[in-house]
Amino acid sequence: MNFRYHPTQGARPLSLLAVVAAMGFLLPAQVAAQNGSVTGQVTAATTGQPINGAQVTIMDSSLGVLSNISGRFLVNNVPAGTHTVQVVYVGYGTATQEVVVPPGGAATADFALEVSAVAMDELIVTGTAGAVERRKLGTSAASLNVTDVAEVTPLSDFSQTLEGRIPGVRSIGTVGGVGAGRELRIRGTDSFSLSQRPVIYIDGVRVDSRQREWGSGVPGTGFSTTCCAFSGGAGEDRLSDLNPDEIDRVEVLKGPAASTLYGSEASGGVIQIFTKRGRSNSPANFALTVNAGFNRHRENFPTSLRSNFQGPDGTYAWDPNETLIENGLINSYDLTVDGGGEAVTYFVSGGFSFEEGSVKPNDQKRANLRVNLNWTAGENLTIAVNSGYVRNRIYSLQSGNNWLGIYTNALLTNPLNATAEEPYGGGLDVNVADAQAINTYSDADRWTGGVTLNYNPSPDFTHRATIGLDAVNDQKTRYMPFGRNYTYIGRQGERNIGYRNARQFTAEYVGNLNYTLPDWAGGLAGNLAFGSQGYWDITSFSMSTGRGFAGEGVTTVSGAALTLGAEAFEEDVNLGAFLQNRFDFNNLFITAAVRMDGNSAFGENYGFQVYPKADVAYNLSDDMLPGLISSAKVRGAVGMAGKAPGAFDQFQTYVPNTVLDDLAGVRPNNPGNDVIEPEVKIEYEGGLELGLWNDRIGVDATYWHATTQNALLGIPLPPSEGFSSSKRQNAGSILNKGIEVAMNTTVLDRSSFRWSTGVNFEWIHNEILDLGDASFPDSLPVYGADGSLLRWDQYMRLGGYWVGLPIFERTTRVITGWDPATRRHSRSAYNTYVGNEQPSTLASFSNDFAIGQSLRVAVQFRGEWGAIMSNSDRGYGVRQLAYDEYLELLASDGSATPASDSLLDRFRLVYPVDKRDHIRLQEVSINYALPEGLMSAIGLGRSSITLAGYNLHWWDDCHCPDPNQQYRGGDDFSTSPFLGIPQPRRFLVSFRTRF
């Protein structure tokens, strides 16, 4: 059978040329005659519970299915004869059985799986060019079975799914608004300026994963809105578009050692999301999940003394803990159906969620629809079609470093100024009620879809081709009503509209050839993989502002007296090809690969970039292991991946601007660099994966060491040379290294009680190694606790970076003395280094208790240590005479005291530095499986109710509401807590049922 390939209308041919070339040569395969089937059930050995989603494979063939909700499976078209059936499921040991399939008949194989903390037979797909068992991998690729997690813990946000679950992946909430940006970063910070978010793929299609879509205006145009983006800095996170209920599992490549095959975008790691799919020969399985609950901030805003003070008209000041914090309702409904026949399987999901923030107005309405189809078009050909649509409408919270922020104007107030009109005390001159009257929306339509063809003329020669598109249309709007006071726009009102349209096209072809060398060549088995991959990103921005309405009633930009607009455009094209070979020497697996990339952002005179890699995995045989150790794998890998420069960094440009009396002008902008290269990161890692006590304890430990070379730095030019932007040059070098340890065990496994626990630990070190020729020697003073100058440490410096210090170094002036005569502090004349703003140590501790057949309790703690913050929030709050720390020093009549004056003087000179160290009770879930008899009586299958709480409590010494607070959300290079509203606590009741 031959088939034709039709590229999607409008897509660039990119590597489709290669795909077409490859696929055109594929040959039809012979259809076998006398086939039978294999059927059976997969259960847990100790509890007898059916296992849903276990991977059942007929060895030495490409046949395989997943077990259904009852643990049952059916594999058709199995050639008659003797076969080995293998069952793999994470958390349980791999089991195999030999069956004899009669011609035209069925063989039965039931499996009772034993608990195991080691998963050497788990298949990893991402970054390996084909599905590979974990035992053959020389890298530390991680995977997470989201379906399993969701069985116990209701998930509402993709990033939350990763929180504390994979060592090396830092996924935390940083701001309190629903839908707002979150921090997601893998293995530290590896660039001075390029995105730190890992590249994210959904079912092989590269997707938009920005944590902030724009900052203060249209990028690069100088056109900005009134202040700090429409909603105050954090922006909306495009990962909040994803519905976790659609996700089956996630694979994470943590760095170049594993992600080389992704080339010029992968040095920060790769996350691949696999959505759920239907199962063949399965009737329609419906699943309904209903969540209800609320968000509520912890009442720890530093304003609890506020209500003791009266303003000039006798009004007692409001305490935001009492008046601003509300219950933010949460409701969500997800209905899925999956199933399939012999040739076609399907998964269809529809979901709607509504969620309010705890400080209002702030809410998110999200509707998701997904259809995944798999068609076995022939014996050797399958076609997978994935289509996901989301409408994500967020009523954004005005917050952060923002004159219009609700939290800002409620907290930064002097209670002695409270009046009946402004009971908080006036804030930054915007009444809280006026701030709450602003309508700020982000309204995104998004479609992500792709087609994947798998053509396997034989089990040893396979082809996979994927094309896909992620299209995001996001409209942001803000309306400040006429008649209310918004500082410098006055009472005239303003309307802002911004559009961001992003298209990311992906095309990929991968061929895999399993071979055995002739005897004269050693008879060695191996795998050769080859392919090409390309993406094409186009993003356009536009924004308009209308300021000055004649009155109420008109809310459009064009209805305003003054209208302004701007637009911008970005385009980035990448083409790559790769070749990989793996040799299998019994228990030893050696892989070597190379990828070559061209990218439109590389300098015109640069050319292509080559990324090599190699890894080795050695599985120790039983006779080499002491009794305690049941399995062991030693692995090592070295690899290189890159990160392309900004789309237009290479060009020397002049920017248009409006000057004089609205005349067209230009000014020098970017000096350009026609030999600009990608940043390259070389990573090596070594690891040990152990199974102890018959694989009841699994330990996975990795040491990794990564050096970013040719890191892009903005080399400041002397202003007398004219150009306003710094020159982007490949000049820097950054070191990241760390240790990751994951330990999982089932402490107890009885039919009536099971206790599984897991500890993840991560230590990371970040250091700038080199800042290039433009750096210069400079010194930082070191002060003692009494403010005395101890010494000067010399570093090489460029801009705000110092060789030998971390990227997130914090330098600041410090208090050096106190003069009791003048009652004034003195501060150092120079900044001194006070610490790293990113944590060096992270850990999580998870427990899962199964009590009887019906009750499960999951608890997760996580902690971070080693980070500090320049606590601008605290300093600001005191300087504004607003926070408890200041108020508690005032006299009973509200007048200043020497102590309050001293504190004020201190924080007017410097911002305090506080530790971000903390331990957090991240999740508690109590899941109760409802009696099956009762459920079946009303026509329902397995059902459960879950009570869950998130972000419940934290223990810290940060003098702040939340040590993870960052006002710019998940911004890559800003960790400032400044007026970033903290994450709320979250409480949910979840009902899940199947029918």
Partner: protein, 432 residues
């Protein structure tokens, strides 16, 4: 190897070849930017860009000058204003670095624009082109402002260090060139601006006869503004003015001369007690954004598109009056100053009999005429008055002794100009 495998291998080769042929696919362009070649077709925009680069940062300079002088105090939440208000400025903490950087770039862009005009128009046409006049004016103004702001700077790309007096001398020369070119190009508005600016540079160098000669040539009613528009707004309004951010307000020493009112008003003239219309202010009792300090707002600029006078005929009259005073012609000086006062309805000063009184009258009249134009700090510096003015406040937070009277040069130039020592402590910073 069977046929399928062979074909697979061919596919790989095809993929690699396809990749190699994809150079065209890897070419992108930014439709939002001009290239250097594009500018040859956009010469007026180049000239506007040079002049605009001088204007668009002038508002920030006015505020910073007011904070380091005794005009403004910080009333907001930002250390960037708190430091200059309290005289805390050094090489790491220089509020005017953005202004200096912008004017240094304007110098380069002016020279580059002249080169471009010659290339595109030819030497002869360029020499008398209004475009050349415009960029020479822009370049000269940038040099003048650098000389007025910092105690040292550079006059050419990555040039050698020059003192403020050398910068002013260079500005005088450039403004002279601008004057000549403007006259030959038939652009009197540029010519007057160049001549008024040259008067100022001559005054600041102590060349009073040259200054008077230029100042006297400027007709009454002349004003050259730093022009703002809806895209490039006046930050004096946005950041320091009532109903806006109110991050700075008039210094408390002036408060007794300002009435509380629900309507905008004027500071009282210390001589007559009458409202001085040259100093529009507004105080209605409102507390500033630091939640503590009453906000006394300037009211000279109200809309964020309001322009700021950089040079004007009244300023030229002040130069003439000061030159007379320095020559001992107190009657003549007082006469000129009283004409300016009469124009706003204020009674005249009596002719003083001693130089100190004469100097204080000149200083006050310059404060009033140049209110919120950035000149007060220049006057305190050149008059050696900073210490006296701040000592009179007897304010432990604002000591006169050691208070800088000019700004250090921008550290970006100092650090990245290969002709300059990286050791920033070697840069000058005059203090009281």
């Amino acid at each position: 190897m069977n046929l399928s495998r062979m074909k697979g291998g061919i596919a790989v080769v095809a993929a690699v070849l396809a990749l190699g042929a994809c150079d065209e696919l890897l070419t992108v362009a930014d439709p939002g930017r001009y290239t250097a070649a594009d500018l040859d077709e956009a010469l007026p925009a180049v000239a506007n860009g040079v002049e605009g680069a001088v204007h668009e940062i002038f508002d920030s300079w006015v505020t910073d000058q007011a904070l380091l002088a005794d005009v403004y105090q910080h009333t907001g939440t930002w250390s960037g204003y708190d430091d200059p208000d309290h005289g805390r400025t050094n090489y790491n903490n220089n509020a005017t670095r953005f202004e200096q950087d912008s004017w240094l770039r304007a110098q380069w862009f002016a020279a580059d624009a002249e080169r471009r005009f010659k290339e595109v128009l030819g030497d002869a046409e360029a020499a008398s082109s209004p475009l050349t006049a415009q960029v020479r004016l822009g370049g000269g103004l940038a040099t003048m402002l650098l000389g007025m702001t910092a105690c040292e700077s550079v006059g050419t790309p990555t040039g050698e260090l020059m003192t403020d007096m050398q910068m002013l001398a260079l500005a005088e020369q450039r403004l002279g060139d601008a004057l000549t070119t403007s006259q030959s190009a038939g652009r009197p508005e540029y010519a007057m601006a160049a001549q008024a600016a040259r008067a100022q540079t001559r005054m600041l160098q102590g060349d009073w006869s040259g200054a008077v000669a230029d100042a006297s040539a400027i007709p009454a009613g002349f004003v050259y503004h730093a022009v703002f528009n809806v895209q490039s707004t006046n930050s004096v309004v946005q950041l320091t003015t009532k109903n806006n951010n109110e991050a700075a307000g008039l210094m408390y020493k002036w408060w007794p001369m300002i009435e509380k009112s629900d309507e905008p008003g004027f500071m009282r003239d210390p001589l007559s007690g009458m409202p001085d219309k040259r100093i529009p202010v507004y105080f209605d009792g409102e507390i500033a954004t630091d939640n503590e300090t009453p906000h006394y707002s300037q009211w000279k600029y109200v809309q964020d598109t309001d322009d700021i006078p950089m040079l004007h005929s009244d300023g030229m009259r002040l130069i003439v009056a000061e030159a007379m005073a320095r020559n001992g012609d107190f009657a003549g000086a007082t006469g000129v100053l009283n004409e300016l006062r009469a124009a706003v309805g204020l009674p005249g000063h009596d002719v003083p009999t001693d130089p100190e009184t004469m100097a204080s009258i000149v200083l006050w009249e310059r404060f009033a005429e140049h209110f919120m134009e950035g000149q007060r700090l220049v006057d305190l510096h050149r008059g050696g008055l900073m210490r006296q003015v701040f000592d009179e406040l007897n304010d432990p937070d604002r000591l006169g002794a050691g208070r800088p009277t000019k700004w250090p040069m921008t550290n970006q130039e100092a650090l990245y100009n290969p002709n300059m020592n990286d050791d920033l402590t070697q840069r000058c910073l005059p203090t009281a």
